[in-house]
Amino acid sequence: DAGITQSPRHKVTETGTPVTLRCHQTENHRYMYWYRQDPGHGLRLIHYSYGVKDTDKGEVSDGYSVSRSKTEDFLLTLESATSSQTSVYFCAISWGPGGEQYFGPGTRLTVT
């Protein structure tokens, strides 16, 4: 987890409220990713970024938006949280596309 932090690490929120998760890296990697992890599903890609202000959708992007205004920060926003978004969220970074990814410690989000 060295060089990658996620905040908050745990959050409980109510249905319909907005939530923003933050990923911060000190490694100057170009690519950043947001995944969610649910029982039996492995890691599923939500959104990724290939540079400042450059983002693209992953396989489960509905209900999520992202922003990257600086190399070191990648934000994931749930505009109106739903119970189906209860999950563990991981941020990852890599030098290039499809290369080795380094993961943060995760954020456990519970939507009640």
Binding site: D1, Y33, Q37, D38, P39, G40, H41, G42, L43, R44, L45, Y48, G58, V88, F90, A92, P97, G98, G99, E100, Q101, Y102, F103, G104, P105, G106
Partner: protein, 110 residues
């Protein structure tokens, strides 16, 4: 405990024995593969990788084997230790991202 482990295949081995964890991949054009280890409450950690021009790669106590004919790779852990208990994922490289398998739970019995 970590809820990510629910519904995953489980491999139980005796401490000191060798472990073999298997993974099937889907895309015959995939040219790079990674094995990750995820301990309870933590993010995945890189273990070892292999490119498609290789059949075998060895690390410290770990070996990855790649069989492109049947689209299969395996992770072998020698002399398994209690600290090896975790969920293990394989990942395959598509043109612009990694695709992860669901994972296998490794439990080490002392």
């Amino acid at each position: 405990g970590e809820s990510v482990g629910l519904h995953l295949p489980t491999l139980s081995v005796q401490e000191g024995d060798n472990s073999i964890i298997n993974c099937a991949y889907s895309n015959s054009a995939s040219d790079y593969f990674i094995w990750y280890k995820q301990e309870s409450g933590k993010g995945p950690q890189f273990i070892i990788d292999i490119r498609s021009n290789m059949d075998k790669r060895q690390g410290q106590r770990v070996t990855v084997l790649l069989n492109k004919t049947v689209k299969h790779l395996s992770l072998q852990i020698a002399a398994t230790q209690p600290g090896d208990s975790a969920v293990y994922f394989c990942a395959e490289k598509t043109p612009d991202k990694l695709v992860f398998g669901a994972g296998t739970i490794l439990r080490v019995k002392s």
